[in-house]
Point group: C2
Chain length 352, copies 2
């Protein structure tokens, strides 16, 4: 206890954002943590709920059902072509809420910071989060900061939990695909995973491969406008398109038949996959979605997606079948047919 410096005497110096580093005192619950929160987080995320500065946020939500999702982000490196852990932590959770058919409204943010992280890097991450949240129309309303000793973390891990509201008529879920439904993919696959992997491996391509990390709530709104009864919405992140289609096939107890030639893959991504021995179907995306719709809605949904910037390359890639339930089959470019399985082991650790 130190009686010499009361709060009435605000003599403390500002955080040294250019040269300072996070130390254990920033997670202590004491004055240093208060300062980090004030000068770095609150100033970047400013909104009414956060400014109240209680350990909770009090929120108004419009009528409808609440849709909630949580994700922890451990991507390595923290900064990559096309994004960083901050923007990714917003996009990833906004998208999981949007895939529930909801309008994302609020995010919480929990930071686990490794002692020694330069404050300048933390500030870049926080500013990027704030910008991504503004762009997506969500407010970061409450948060938490922990600091772990050097060697017990890796720079910074971020958890975000998202809250949104959906209309009662909307109820997409992985168990609602039915035989005859049409499978639509919003654009090219593999961009995010390959962007991360090529940064890690210091691969140089003629054209750099950028992550597709992006918020998809606007694209979802465009789909719901024309097809509020959309059966399934999913973003194929970890595990790639193959995991997403397998999960839907299993949960809905249906088969899936997709055509390789209709699945967009950028030439540079394809080349990198060959070099790295990866299958684009297993590589993560952070700005793409799969919509499964009644065949009567397919034309309108495809047109609505193509009219949206995040769905310009949208394509019908296959159909839901009554045969081969629980399996995903691929008609290959070479005229064969094979089963597309889940990723069995580990392919790309820490891509999100």
């Amino acid at each position: 206890m130190d009686g010499s410096l009361g709060r009435g005497t605000p003599r403390r110096r500002k955080l040294d954002l250019a040269n300072g580093r996070v130390d254990l005192s920033h997670g202590s619950g004491g004055r240093a943590m208060e300062q980090l929160i004030e000068e770095l987080f609150v100033s970047a995320f400013a909104n009414d709920a956060l400014d109240r500065r209680d350990d909770n946020a009090v929120l108004d939500v419009p009528p409808g059902r609440l849709v909630v999702s949580t994700d922890s982000f451990v991507v390595s490196p923290l900064f990559f072509p096309g994004g960083d852990i901050g923007s990714l932590a917003v996009h990833g959770t906004v998208n999981d809420v949007a895939m529930g058919g909801a309008v994302p409204l609020y995010l919480t943010a929990g930071f686990i910071i490794e002692e020694g992280l330069p404050l300048s890097e933390l500030k870049r991450v926080v500013d990027s989060m704030a910008a991504a949240a503004r762009d997506a129309g969500v407010a970061i309303v409450t948060g938490d900061t922990k600091v772990v000793e050097r060697g017990k973390g890796d720079g910074v891990f971020i958890n975000t939990t998202g809250i949104g509201v959906r209309r009662d008529v909307v109820a997409p879920s992985a168990d609602r695909a039915r035989p005859g439904d049409v499978v639509i993919l919003s654009g090219s696959i593999g961009d995010h995973g390959i962007a991360i992997m090529s940064t890690r491996e210091s691969l140089d391509f003629e054209a750099p491969i950028l992550s597709d990390s992006a918020a998809l709530h606007g694209l979802v709104a465009a789909i719901l406008d024309v097809a509020p009864g959309v059966r399934v919405l999913r973003d194929p992140t970890r595990g790639g398109l193959s995991a997403t289609l397998n999960e839907i096939a299993g949960r809905s107890n249906v088969g899936m038949l997709v055509r390789e030639r209709d699945i967009p893959v950028k030439p540079a991504v394809e080349a990198a996959c060959e070099l790295l021995g990866l299958d684009p179907l297993h590589v993560a995306n952070e700005g793409k979605l799969v919509a499964i719709v009644d065949p009567a809605d397919a034309g309108a949904v495809l047109a609505a997606m193509r009219a949206h910037p995040r769905g310009a390359e949208a394509a019908i890639i296959g159909t839901v079948t009554a045969e081969a339930r629980g399996l995903v089959q691929l008609d290959t470019t070479f005229g064969g047919r094979r089963i597309v399985d889940w990723l069995a082991g580990e392919q790309l650790p820490r891509i999100c």
Copy 2:
């Protein structure tokens, strides 16, 4: 891609919960992750929202305002006298929601696991979380699992985000204390921090000091029953009672005058604090709260708290003053008066 083993052929072996360890494949988004989620998390947390197994939960909430809080838990060691990181991750967030005057309803859970963690330890943590959530009447409705390489984490970190609902007449907040208000503490301070510290330092006391980690929503409900207009509710966790009182003094722009002799500290905790050179006012609690109430309500609130098992030792410890705004003053047992400041540096890293 491996066409030899479709989902139609469920030949996989169950997780080896006795001798297995978490590896990177458990965070891959592929089959191993699916298995970990099914056999460990879903089976322990089972509820309708989680069983849907989408990347989000769809929730019904009763009328009222939404109160949301998030916390990441990085406590070391994972298991300590009186609790573990699993029960703590439930209690901590349930309490932050309850301090907003809300009934906690739902939790999300995000796990960041270090490669190599024994599955048996993870199962103990998850079972403890499930039990704590059942006891607190909250459902764990959606989650996320990430795995980081050995040396990039520390066993397991857990983020929980809590959602509750409060009645419109209830609005406790740290900026609502007024001169003349009464400060009530629900019980003895320092138990949690000293339980962690003595485990880490392998201190042996005649009577082991147990963490006070507990859910306080029931105690809050008892307070709200008699005083729905309670001004401030706060649980003094990191930074201890001193941080909580200083924050309220600053946010409400009032002074605080508290009496050392009325603040309960267990003799064993006091002895440990002397040995370790700690001030109990700075040591974390995980099952105590501070209520600041109108003097007209103080008697009823104190009686209601004492009638509840979590508030049996509740005591009036001081008053809110118009003097010395922004400062917390302590009348010491020895007849002096001194300022109680925030913790300045780091005292007890990773106690929550």
